[in-house]
């Protein structure tokens, strides 16, 4: 592939040798890890740039979307799930259960396209689904990496408005797709807390309904946070797909393209960063929960 479609046997051999592909598998892996520890993730053959640089360049854009996904999913998902649990089997609960099941079944990319049609083509509320900011505006200087935040920070309202409009479609997609599993699980966790021994005992102690509810809510907090943390992978997938469709210029789009074009070093880099990022998020969430959970034994 690298040598070009016209290469003959000899030339392919030559390229192979230069890349070290003729060495045994173990040696190749060992060399890879060595390079890794030195910060060298190889070179993307598409762009001929180091993979690490390519990733770092695009990471801020993806983080922006990831935070958007996290915030939208949580703000919509958790209150809805809780509300449904506290009024079980009433109309709201039924609608919510069905709605979240529906959200589970909607393909992210398709919904993005439909949202584009409705909110851009029909309503003209959202910006054209290309990139992170309009062509007519200059992107703001790089402070946080988010066009929207940086525009606000530098007082550039035109840029902020354009960036904001470009964030609208992703936000709409995330609000349905990411919140669906959160609604379902939050509801289940809250229901379990409400049926627990300690809630029943609290009622027996004559604590009013408000206090009982607070006790149940506090006990639900840790499992809910843990669950949202575990949804990172789902969010990463959704973010990658959104980037791909909207040409966001983020790390997810780059990674998917790398896979499609067979850019092996890039794919390895993509996979590695994805997995490492998730691992760190899980660790972080676990530590967070551990800090607030008396059962861990850290609180003395």
């Amino acid at each position: 592939m690298l040598s070009g479609p016209m290469a003959n046997e000899a030339e392919i051999e030559e390229v192979r040798r230069s890349l070290g592909l003729d060495r045994p598998i173990f040696e190749q892996f060992f060399v890879y890890v060595q390079n890794l520890l030195r910060g060298d993730l190889g070179k993307s053959w598409q762009s001929n740039e180091p993979v690490l640089d390519e990733i770092l360049l695009r990471l801020p854009a993806s983080i922006e979307l990831l935070i958007l996904a996290l915030v939208t999913g949580t703000i919509i998902g958790v209150p809805t799930g809780l509300y449904a649990a506290y009024r079980p089997n009433r109309l709201f609960d039924q609608i919510t259960r069905f709605g979240s099941l529906l959200g589970f079944s909607i393909p992210t990319y398709w919904f993005a396209l439909v949202a584009t049609f409705v909110f851009f083509f029909l309503l003209r509320w959202a910006a054209p689904p290309l990139g992170r900011i309009g062509m007519e505006v200059f992107p703001p200087p790089d402070i946080t990496g988010s066009y929207f935040v940086d525009s606000l920070l530098t007082g550039n309202l035109a840029a902020a408005s354009s960036a904001g409009h470009h964030l609208l479609l992703p936000a709409i997609v995330f609000s349905i797709i990411v919140s669906a599993p959160i609604i379902k699980q939050t509801r289940a966790i809250a229901l379990e807390a409400l049926g627990s021994d300690y809630v029943r005992y609290a009622r027996a102690c004559g604590y009013g309904p408000g206090l009982v509810r607070r006790i149940a809510l506090r006990a639900s907090f840790a499992p809910i946070v843990t669950f949202i943390g575990s949804e990172t992978t789902t969010m990463l997938l959704a973010v990658s797909l959104i980037e791909f469709i909207f040409s966001w210029g983020g790390f997810g789009q780059w990674g998917l393209n790398a896979i499609l074009f067979g850019d092996f070093a890039a794919v390895q880099g993509y996979v590695l960063v994805l997995a490492t990022f998730s691992a760190f998020v899980f660790l972080f969430v676990d530590l967070l929960v551990l800090l607030f959970e008396p059962r861990s034994g850290l609180l003395k």
């Binding site: 027996a204 102690c205 004559g206 604590y207």
Partner: protein
Amino acid sequence: MSLLKVDNLHTHFVTRDLKDELRVAKALNGVSFALEQGEILGLVGETGAGKSLTAMSIMGLLSPPARVVEGSVRFKETELINLPVGDLDQLRGQEITMIVQSPVSSLDPLKRIGRQLIRMQQVHRAITTAEARKRAIEMLRIVGIPNPERRIRAWPHELSGGMAQRVLIAMALINEPSLIIADEPTTGLDVTVQAQILDLLLDLVSERSMSAIVITHDLGIVAHYCGRMAVMFAGRIVEEGPTRDVFKNPSHPYTQALISSAPSHAGSRQRASAAGPPPNLYNLPEGCHYRDRCPSARDICATQPHPVMVSAGHQAACHFVAETSSQEPVGS
């Protein structure tokens, strides 16, 4: 005027089965008893007889699909059934308190036990945190927890079963209630600890002239600690009276079977064993619920037996009280 008067309490479970038909489990079928000030009543029966359910119904702690469908519970002249939740919450934890089966999982897992004892007080009366804390420490000392000043900072999961139960006793007594309901307070505890807990609880109760209902399946506990007892079967009280009288002169076939099968009575007069299939709450026999297991059942048992007085304060719900009792009835 009795402290607590339960009258004709009926509690049902309504569910739908696989064929989507309504199924009604009649768990309580006309439970009636009275409790006087200062009395300790033992409520006995096999699993599924409805003992815990009676307590839940009294305290208003039933969750769907369980419902009280008929009857009344009067506590000091206040009707508890259908009492507005706000009023009920004032009584619960203050006038009527409860001790439950699984102490460790019943305490709030996210609050230290000291804070829970303080909260228990502050919910029901105006009391400063400092004062409540003092009383909490004192209460822990009274229930026999060593080093209470340090222990108030403990988390529920750090406690053993016995310790946690002591904390529940502290929670139950700290607001000086009139009535304590102890629902199988020693289940799951070590045998050695069981006696300690019961001794502690009932000493404190009688010390303060409180009243108590002790729910248990263990006749030994009833014999040892309870002045009066009531025997339950299939949601009805089949016999009640002073404990000594009931043990000496059990007048209902079920009570007789229970007592004679208790280990301490092994070797004495042989009666039918108390064992048998549990009653099907969805399909109880007409009339006396014990018919299907009773050796003396006859045609008349198809009509519901009414409580018949055996002696002063002692009654049994059986058609054949006069025949099966081992003594001549004092007044019939």
